[in-house]
Structures are given as structure tokens and as C-alpha cells.
């Protein structure tokens, strides 16, 4: 039982001891441990989609109220085999590279895409002490990796040498980079309160304060809105709008499996990121006694919750046009995130320096409520103005349209 | 020496990068490629700044702060430079530097 309590750490220590007993020199023990650790960690995001795609398909069948995987001919019991079926089909499918494509760029774009999606997992804490590497720049590392996925999209669009792909890639990059600014600014608000980039520190700080979802709801909202476009989720989905531009920047790829996989890995990573930054990560009751509970139970529940929210949004909201997405990010989210930083900075510093964490939490919450009281009337006024304008246009258009009939 | 790497190695790499970038600035036909050369040169400067910071005053912050300001200037230069290129491209339909000699009279 003692072994089971801290399963992952114990397996790691057992493995190191095994190698050391085999008489290997220290440096090789380290290299092999790091290599095996990296391989294991990389398998987590590569393998979990097999379960989560199944979950997503069941969710969408419920939301759309239609037949789901259970009725699939090759799906097996409860549709369990559908995802492996798809994977085999994807793997053995003929791969035709367009004759005019820029072969090297074309072929390396999916590899870059998957690599970036795997690399994000290097700093995500999955349980107490279970983390690839506790970098001192932790969360900033994830933010800068976002640049990699932008390059991958551009490579795919350019490599296809196809005007549709390229146009879709420019569209996708436009949405991807627009969401980056609110993303960075909302993370900055968290960093301000925690005083560290390191992910375990962020989780520890939420033990001291409340969950940041309750301390800074606006920050959480901005963050949630900005992570939606990375895995191509509505309403911010034009990176790959299936029904409108076929497959966006990877139209020319006969095998889009890698992009699909990377997309799912990103969605999973972003959900875990939200759970870590705003919902306390792997922390929960009894986690001190049985550390493995953090990974298996608490983090899994929180991640699944965030993912379900994202999927609910995706399957129940209409898709915005690219210019509408850009308008939301630049005219609403970015100014709001900037103001959010200002308000939180003032709220945190006007308190007496010996204020406890709970006083600070309440101060941040009060600042957020104050922001709500200012933001909502402004939004309502803009909405009224827009509606009045539309009314005018409609009235102006009506008589002339009757004449034509 | 940090990790057994002498400071000179970094300076040599930076010098080489600077000269490669300089060649790009001097020899490329397209204005965009020229700007890419300038970016490489700015990178070389940043390597120098960070290397000097690490080897001469690691507890200080001057080298890192200077590098940050170089980033700001590089971004500003790229933004304005490419905006000019786009404006020229729109009016003259060329980005080849040799063809842009309207000011020669």
C-alpha cells in the first residue's frame, strides 16, 4: 500500500535504483532516466486523445440529439473501437503530396505542429512532484511555444502551394496571433499575484488564496476566451472551419491525422492549463495523504470539466467570421485585459502590506466586481447603439426594396 | 568560463552572425531579404550583450535589460521597415532595392 500512495514518483525512483544497481555510470543513469521520462510524458498526450475523442463524440451525439458511436457498423460495443478504426484508416491511407507542393515544407509542417503540441507538456504539473521539468520560466515557456504553432500553420499553408490553403493559413494565423495578446495579459495577472512563472508555485499560491477563478473571474474569462482558438473551437474557430473552408490551411493534406492529433493535444493541454491556473491544478482533499489521487482524480475531473465546457461552447454556438473574431479580440479582450492589469495592480498595492491572503483575495474580487459594474453598462450602451444603427439601415432600405418588387 | 565554454566562443559566433547578416544587407536584391539580414545582425548584438552579462556581471541586470531594449528597437524597426516596403510595393509594385531610385532625380 505504501508503494501505491505515490505511484509515479516511486516507479521513477525504482527505475533509477535499477539502473544504478546495474553498474552504469552516473551520467548514463541520468541520460536514460531523462530519455525514458521524456518518452513516457510524450506518450500521455499522444495516447489520451484515443479516450477523449470517444468522449467528445458521445457528448456531441447527446448535444445534437442524434445517433452516436453505438450505432456505428465497425464501432464495436459502445463504439469503443471507432477511434482505433479511424487511426488505422488514417495510418494506412494513401498519402498524395500535390505535385506543385514545396515538398520539404509540406512534409515537415505536421511534424512541427505535433512537436510543439508535445513540448507544451514538458512543464505542466500532473501531480505533486510529477512534472516534466519545473522551469523557472514555466508558464512563459508555454506562451512562447505558441509562436511555434503559428509557424507550423504558415508552413502548412505555404508548403501546399495552393491559394486556398495559403489564404486560410493567413486567416488562421490572424486569429492565432490576435488571441495571444489577451492570453499573455491574463497570464500576467496570475503571475502578478503569484510572483513566479513556475507552474507548481502557481498551484501552491492557490492553496493560500482561493482558486483564481473566484479571486479573478475576469482574468479567467479572458483566458478561457483566448484558449478557444488554438484547438479551433467555436465561437473562435476559423483556423479550421470544417464546413466553410473545408479544412483551412491543411486542405491539401490527404492525411490530416497529424494536425487532428495536434489539435486534440492542444485542446487537452489548454484545458489542463486552465485547470492549473484557475482551478487549483491537482490539489484537492486527501491529496497530501495519497498523492496519486491528485493526478488520477482531481486533475482529471477538473480537466474533463473544462473540456466539457469548451465542447459545450463548440457544439452550441455559431461560428464567428474572421473579422468578428478579430473585433472581439482587439476591441474587447485586449483593452479589457490591459485595464484588468491596471485595476489588479492598484487593488493589490493599496492594501496594507501586512494584509493576509484572504484580504487580498477579497480585494481582487471587489476590483473584479467593480470592473463588471463599469464594463457591462458600456457593452450594453454599445449594443443599443449598434441596434439603433441597424434599425436605421433597415428603415432606410425598406421603401426602396418594395419599389423594386 | 561557464560550463567550460570560454567567452571568446560566444563573441566569435556573434561576430560571424553579424557578418553573415551584413552580407545579407549588402548583397540581397529584395528589400525584405535585406531586413532579414538586419534582424540577424541585431541577434548577433544580443548574443554579445547576454554573453557579457553572464561572464562579467551575472548578479547585475544591465546586460539583460539592454537586450530587452534591443528587442523593442528590433521590433519597431521591423514594423516600420516592412510597413514602408508594403507602401512602396503598393505604389511602385516592386520591392527590389535597385529599382527604387526615384530620389536620384
Amino acid at each position: 500500500m505504501e508503494f501505491l500512495k505515490d505511484l509515479i514518483i516511486n516507479i521513477g525512483q525504482w527505475f533509477v535504483a535499477l539502473l544504478a544497481d546495474a553498474g552504469l555510470p552516473d551520467i548514463w543513469v541520468q541520460v536514460i532516466t531523462l530519455g525514458v521520462g521524456a518518452f513516457t510524458l510524450a506518450l500521455v498526450p499522444l495516447a489520451t486523445p484515443f479516450l477523449l475523442i470517444l468522449y467528445e463524440r458521445k457528448v456531441v451525439a447527446r448535444i445534437a440529439d442524434r445517433l452516436g458511436l453505438n450505432n456505428s457498423a465497425y464501432g464495436g460495443p459502445y463504439g469503443l473501437l471507432q477511434v482505433p478504426d479511424d487511426a488505422i484508416k488514417m495510418f494506412t491511407k494513401e498519402d498524395s503530396v500535390p505535385a506543385t507542393a514545396d515538398r520539404w515544407v509540406f512534409n515537415s509542417a505536421p511534424v512541427v505542429c505535433v512537436t510543439v503540441a508535445v513540448l507544451i507538456w514538458g512543464v505542466i504539473p500532473l501531480g505533486p512532484g510529477v512534472i516534466g521539468s519545473d522551469l523557472s520560466i514555466g508558464i512563459f515557456y508555454i506562451l512562447s511555444l505558441g509562436a511555434g504553432s503559428v509557424v507550423a500553420v504558415l508552413m502548412a499553408g505555404w508548403g501546399s502551394n495552393n491559394e486556398y490553403s495559403l489564404a486560410a493559413a493567413l486567416c488562421g494565423v490572424a486569429t492565432l496571433i490576435s488571441r495571444e495578446i489577451p492570453l499573455v495579459l491574463s497570464v500576467m495577472a496570475v503571475v502578478m499575484v503569484v510572483g513566479s512563472f513556475s507552474m507548481p508555485d502557481i498551484i501552491a499560491a492557490q492553496d493560500q488564496y482561493a482558486w483564481f477563478l473566484f479571486a479573478m473571474p475576469w482574468t479567467a474569462l479572458i483566458f478561457l476566451a483566448s484558449i478557444l482558438s488554438e484547438p479551433g473551437r467555436r465561437p473562435f474557430e476559423t483556423v479550421k472551419a470544417d464546413s466553410e473552408v473545408v479544412a483551412g490551411y491543411f486542405t491539401a493534406y490527404s492525411k490530416f491525422g497529424m494536425f487532428y492529433l495536434a489539435e486534440f493535444m492542444n485542446q487537452l493541454a489548454m484545458s489542463i492549463l486552465f485547470a492549473t491556473l484557475f482551478l487549483g491544478g491537482w490539489r484537492g482533499p486527501f491529496v497530501e495523504q495519497i498523492p496519486i489521487l491528485g493526478t488520477v482524480l482531481w486533475l482529471a475531473i477538473k480537466t474533463l470539466f473544462v473540456m466539457s465546457v469548451i465542447q459545450l461552447l463548440h457544439y452550441s454556438l455559431p461560428r464567428l467570421r474572421t473579422d468578428q473574431i478579430l473585433a472581439v479580440t482587439w476591441k474587447f479582450l485586449t483593452p479589457l485585459a490591459l485595464v484588468n492589469i491596471c485595476v489588479l495592480a492598484l487593488a493589490g498595492k493599496t492594501l496594507p502590506p501586512n494584509a493576509g491572503p484572504w484580504t487580498r483575495t477579497l480585494a481582487f474580487l471587489a476590483a473584479n466586481i467593480g470592473m463588471t459594474l463599469v464594463v457591462l453598462p458600456i457593452l450594453a450602451a454599445r449594443d443599443r447603439a449598434a441596434r439603433r444603427r441597424q434599425e436605421q439601415i433597415r428603415r432606410a432600405a425598406q421603401p426602396s426594396s418594395r419599389k423594386h418588387k | 568560463m561557464v560550463y567550460g565554454i570560454p567567452l571568446e566562443w560566444y563573441l566569435i559566433v556573434a561576430a560571424a552572425l553579424f557578418c553573415i547578416g551584413g552580407y545579407g544587407v549588402l548583397a540581397r536584391r529584395s528589400a525584405v531579404a535585406t531586413l532579414m539580414g538586419v534582424e540577424l545582425m541585431l541577434n548577433a548584438i544580443n548574443i554579445n550583450l547576454v554573453a557579457f552579462w553572464r561572464y562579467l556581471e551575472p548578479p547585475g541586470t544591465t546586460g539583460q535589460a539592454f537586450a530587452l531594449f534591443v528587442y523593442a528597437v528590433a521590433a519597431a524597426e521591423a514594423a516600420v521597415g516592412l510597413a514602408l516596403i508594403i507602401a512602396v510595393w503598393r505604389t511602385h509594385n516592386t520591392v527590389v532595392l535597385k529599382d527604387l531610385d526615384m530620389l536620384q532625380g
Binding site: 515544407v105 | 560550463y3 565554454i5 567567452l7 536584391r29 531594449f69 528587442y71 521591423a78
Partner: protein, 166 residues
Amino acid sequence: MTLQQILFLIFSAITLIAALMVVTRRNLCHAALFMVLSFFGVAGLYVLLEAPFLAGVQVFIYVGGISTLIIFAIVLTRDVVDPTLPPHNRQWIAGALVMALLCSVLIWTVLGYQWTTTTPGQVPADSIARLGTILVDPEGFLLPFEVTSVLLFAVLIGAITIARER
């Protein structure tokens, strides 16, 4: 040869070879992608120099921002560069000579000078926080910090006004 020295050689080789590709490739988009690779190599050098924050900034600004901007510019102006012409202009031989000369002079100078006599100290754990403190310290870099905001403001308005379609 220690492991770190080998890492240094790998990163600098990536940086320099990719940089050479940037200035010689005919296809500008390939040149831009090699430039991204070169920037990643420089980020690796920063990691070796124990400046992880600057490595992040390198990827964040150069790869995420400047490279994207350059690739957009290339895509936008692609049709006006004749691909049959050589990628360089007439003064490329002179340029190469001048730069080779400059490079050898620089290397000669670097090698001829005794740079450090003592082993450099450790990087403090709160190096990035110190950077943040000094940036807003009136005794430190407060003035450049605020001037940067003015610079960004000016560029924001200036560059958009120049590039915008009217």
C-alpha cells in the same frame, strides 16, 4: 570536450548555417523559415548562458512576431520578384569580401584580448525579478522603460498609417 561544449557547438552550428541559408536562398520563404531556425539556435545559446527568460523572449518576439511579419510581407509581395534572376545584386562579391574582412578583424581582436581573468559568479535565482525591479526603478531603467512605451505608441500609429490601404 564536455557535454555543454558540444551543445554550444550544435547550437552555434544551427544558428550560423541557418543564417547562411537566409542570405543565400533564392526562395525567400525558405530563407524566412531558415531565419526561424536560426532564431531557435540563438535561443539555445541563451539557455546555455543561463538567461532562460531571454530565450523565451527570443522565441516569443522573434519567432512569434518578427518572423510572422516577414513571412506575411513575403507572401504579400511575392509576385513582384522575378524568380529567374539571381537572389543577390551586383555588389555581392564586394559585400562578401568586406564582410569576410570584417569578420576576420573581429575574430582577431576577440582572440587577442584577455577578456576574463576570474571565473564568473552564479546567476541569482531571482534574476528575472531583479530585471523587473530595475526596469521600473527610477535609479535604474525607468526612463528608457517609459520611452519604450512612447516608441511603441509612435510605431503603432506610424507603421499602421503607412501600411494601411486607403
